[in-house]
């Protein structure tokens, strides 16, 4: 017993020692780690021009790679702009970390998050961020010239000022460039197994009836395969939330359905009221009740869809452009690849092009002028090239192809990007620090010229291109999530989640259409008309 007592007392002493010494030493560590929001600059301004400006930048994405600052591209950017960037990121997929920062008022110099993040409104209301438009005009007006005009056109807050800098806009100018990827890797497209297609005689599948008959015949010959499968990249998509209709939302695009319908009189209505919607429901229900579609399309995650694609488990697969190329074969038949299928005549793939991230500047920035110069550098041609392509001469060079000067990776890095993309990204640092990226410039390295494109790729693009539509304004009319209309939209999202599968998997066409009517009725009760009115009003502001 006394031995035990000795042990316990020693442990207690050790614990006490650690507890108290910890308190002491950590006080120092703690004070130096308080986000000082860029106040490392020294007293005299002459010296501060020499010292690199310390910029604390938070990315609200838990998958963001904070090691970018030590990559070649990151280091070169910091050297040329004379800055030292300290990156931090969100710890999980939700907004908790950003919420905490906003709550404690301790925000870093720069914050990058989704452009529809509710925290943006909170930060503006609380007066902790600067209006970017004023900021730029005061300290670095050249930024306006270095950016596309749309960057400063659509993003004003209710007080008429713009508070954030958007990235990856797709503008009409971009769409006109011949070296712009008008069809991007994430666009939706369907394909059929080539061996099955041959077996049923390569019929025309560009109409709902043609599609149905073809899959039915194919299933007859290949009963073990699923008929039609579409895996979801993102489980959240509904008929009421703006975004690309991918995965299980993709079939709706074939009937020209999207979230918004802009009517001739300028009023916006929901896609679920579109006259073609009942056609869509009937078609889906027909496919399902004839055993040509599996319900797993509504639930499978990306990796399961990928596995099914590689196995060739299905006759028709609806995925994205990047899913298919001439080398993708099926597992059970190495000769069989995937033949891209045309869109239905009414098909419309809508991608608003309103951008991805929003970057805000904290009011507490110690040296706003130098920060503005940094942003100016990032939006200059040099900065953009470093960020998107890497170090010139090392990672890429200009090549002339098809009579145009285009940036291309050096052979060594091209091979690396094709074999191990994550290693390539780590060793170059490209496509990582994307807060100020411009979609066109960013994509030029990956955008293939005509002679570089394989026939397969060209056929994919010719299928999708005619059906693509864009409208930046439509990407920005969703209401604030805490407003009344915002709440209506959230409730409609939830409604959509259950009613979409119900409509599709109804016993027969009559029940399916009844379910659709019920869906509409419930949507009305929740307040669909109010939401549409809000959309209409907001859209009109952009005109």
């Amino acid at each position: 017993m006394s031995k035990g007592k000795k042990v316990v007392s020693i442990l207690m002493a050790v614990t006490m020692a650690v507890v108290f010494s910890g308190c002491q030493s950590n006080k120092n560590a703690e004070s130096s780690s308080q986000p000082a929001t860029g106040t490392e600059a020294t007293a005299s301004s002459a010296q501060s021009a020499q010292e690199p400006l310390v910029i604390k930048h938070f990315y609200n994405y838990d998958w963001f790679n904070t090691d970018w600052t030590s990559s070649p591209s990151g280091q070169e950017i910091q050297k040329q702009a004379n800055v030292k960037i300290e990156l931090s990121k969100a710890t999980s997929g939700d907004n908790t970390k950003l919420n905490l920062m906003v709550a404690s008022g301790n925000i870093p110099d720069l914050i990058t998050t989704n452009k529809d993040d509710p925290n943006i409104d909170l930060m503006i209301k609380n007066g902790i961020v600067l209006p970017i438009s004023d900021f730029i005009d005061q300290y670095a007006p050249e930024i306006r010239k270095q950016s596309e005009p749309e960057v400063f056109k659509y993003y004003n807050y209710t007080d008429g000022k713009q508070y954030f800098f958007p990235s990856f806009l797709v503008t009409p100018y971009d769409l006109q460039q011949s070296d712009y990827n008008a069809v991007s890797g994430g666009d939706g497209v369907s394909a059929i197994r080539s061996d099955v297609y041959e077996a049923i005689g390569k019929p025309d599948m560009s109409t709902p009836d043609g599609f149905f008959n073809a899959v039915k015949a194919a299933k007859g010959k290949f009963p073990k395969l699923t008929g039609w499968y579409f895996g979801a990249f993102n489980k959240d998509l509904t008929f009421f939330k703006a975004g690309e209709f991918q995965g299980y939302m993709f079939p709706a695009t074939q009937f020209g359905i999207h979230v918004y319908d802009v009517n001739a009189d300028g009023k916006l209505t929901s896609g679920v009221r579109n006259p073609k919607f009942s056609e869509f429901v009937k078609f889906m229900n027909k496919m399902y009740t004839n055993g040509l579609m599996s319900s797993e399309s509504f639930v499978d995650a990306q990796d399961i869809k990928e596995a099914k694609k590689q196995k060739g488990d299905t006759i028709v697969l609806s995925g994205i452009v990047n899913d298919f190329n001439e080398t993708v074969k099926t597992q059970d038949n190495p000769e069989a690849g995937w033949v891209p299928l045309p869109y239905f005549a009414d098909g419309k793939y809508f991608k608003d092009g309103s951008g991805w991230t929003a970057t805000l500047v904290s009011k507490k920035v110690a040296e706003p002028e130098r920060l503005a110069k940094f942003i100016s550098f990032m939006t200059s041609q040099t900065g953009r090239e470093l960020d998107a392509y890497g170090v010139k001469g090392v990672h890429w060079e200009m090549k002339e192809i098809d009579g145009k000067q285009v940036p291309r990776r050096t052979p060594e890095f091209q091979t690396l990007s094709e074999t191990d993309g994550s290693k390539y990204q780590k060793e170059t640092g490209v496509s990582t620090y994307f807060a100020f990226s411009d979609d066109y410039i960013h994509g030029r390295m990956a955008a293939l010229t005509d002679s570089e494109k394989t026939d397969y790729r060209k056929s994919l693009e010719s299928i999708v291109r005619p059906h693509k539509e864009a409208d930046i304004a439509l990407g920005l009319i969703h209401p604030l999530s805490t407003s009344e209309e915002g709440i209506i939209q959230i409730k409609l999202n939830e409604l959509s989640k259950t009613y979409y599968p119900k409509m599709v998997m109804a016993k027969n066409e009559a029940v399916a259409l009844d379910t659709y009517k019920e869906f509409l009725k419930k949507a009305e009760e929740i307040g669909l008309a109010k939401l549409e009115a809000a959309w209409t009003a907001k859209y009109a502001e952009f005109k």
Partner: protein, 293 residues
């Protein structure tokens, strides 16, 4: 004779049942283990493996272990587990002992105060603001102090202490001992099974923690094991996102799943190895000597 047949029958039933239970509980773990040792692309292409890795590889573990922050996070997690567990167990035991005495003044009040905290929480924002004003954010102590007392574990102690026969305490008091002495020298040594249990609960909580590391610290040096493991996975997922939308080269998304299993193995193995040492405290009949007297 009758006792023997009953015994034998029960034994057989037990052994069979328990073996099934063991297999059923172990198989998913075993499966994760072999998947972590199998090449990721092979799994994606060929699907299930059942008993052994088909394409053996240490690649998944290599990716996990080459993450530079991992080694340091082992240290942090190890330190907080040891320090935190000892501190929490002693603190909780010390506070719980008086609550087990029915004659304690205000006992009902104390217990009710504790119970309420099990059901009403202010949430992460008020907690963060509190820790911030206490200066605990971004310190090692934020892993220890807010975890010192869990009323659930206190209840376990209270219940146990209350079941010790009063005679023990009474005779000690007659001998002139005060409450502190009784607690330290009599009750605490007796409570080996409960000490082991509560140490296990606190220890596991410390080992598995990532929430406080994620939200109450920013320094990379304070990252815990689970946090780093989580970040490895989410980083890989980010690379896959980048491939789809930012065109940063071909990414291998198959690797993400296998990596998940590898990280799981890394975090479970130390616990599985440590537990058998605690197990001996669960052997029946620890109290033999003391209670008799």
């Amino acid at each position: 004779m009758k006792g023997n047949t009953e015994d034998k029958f029960i034994n057989i039933v037990l052994v069979v049942l328990m073996s099934i239970v063991t297999l059923v509980t172990l198989y998913p773990l075993y499966y994760s283990f072999i998947v972590s040792l199998n090449d990721a692309n092979d799994i994606a292409e060929k699907g299930f493996i059942y008993l052994f890795p088909r394409e053996f590889t240490l690649e998944n573990f290599k990716i996990v272990f080459t993450e530079s922050k991992l080694a340091h996070s082992f240290l942090i997690t190890g330190a907080r587990t040891i320090v935190g567990t000892i501190a929490s167990v002693l603190f909780t035991a010390c506070v719980s002992y008086p609550l087990s005495k029915k004659y304690l003044a205000f006992r009902g009040f104390y217990i009710r105060m504790g119970v309420i905290t099990m059901y009403f929480f202010g949430g992460i924002i008020p907690t963060y603001l509190l820790l911030n004003s206490l200066g605990l954010i971004d310190t090692f102590m934020v892993y220890i102090i807010p975890s010192l007392y869990s009323f659930f574990n206190a209840i376990l102690f209270i219940n146990f202490f209350a079941s010790v026969p009063d005679a023990l305490e009474e005779s000690a008091k007659i001998d002139g001992a005060n409450d502190w002495y009784i607690f330290w020298k009599i009750f605490l040594p007796l409570s080996a099974p409960i000490l082991a249990t509560v140490s296990l609960f606190y220890g596991v909580q410390q080992w598995n923690s990532w929430f406080d590391a994620a939200y109450y610290t920013n320094l990379a040096d304070l990252a815990t094991l689970q946090l780093v493991l989580y970040q490895i996975i989410s980083q890989a997922q980010g690379a896959a996102i980048a491939a789809n939308y930012l065109g940063a080269g071909k990414q291998n998304i198959n690797i993400i799943d296998s990596m998940k299993y590898a990280t799981m193995v890394v975090s479970i193995v130390p616990v599985a190895v440590a537990y058998p040492f605690l197990q001996k405290y669960f052997v029946q009949g620890m109290m033999v000597g003391s209670v008799k007297g």
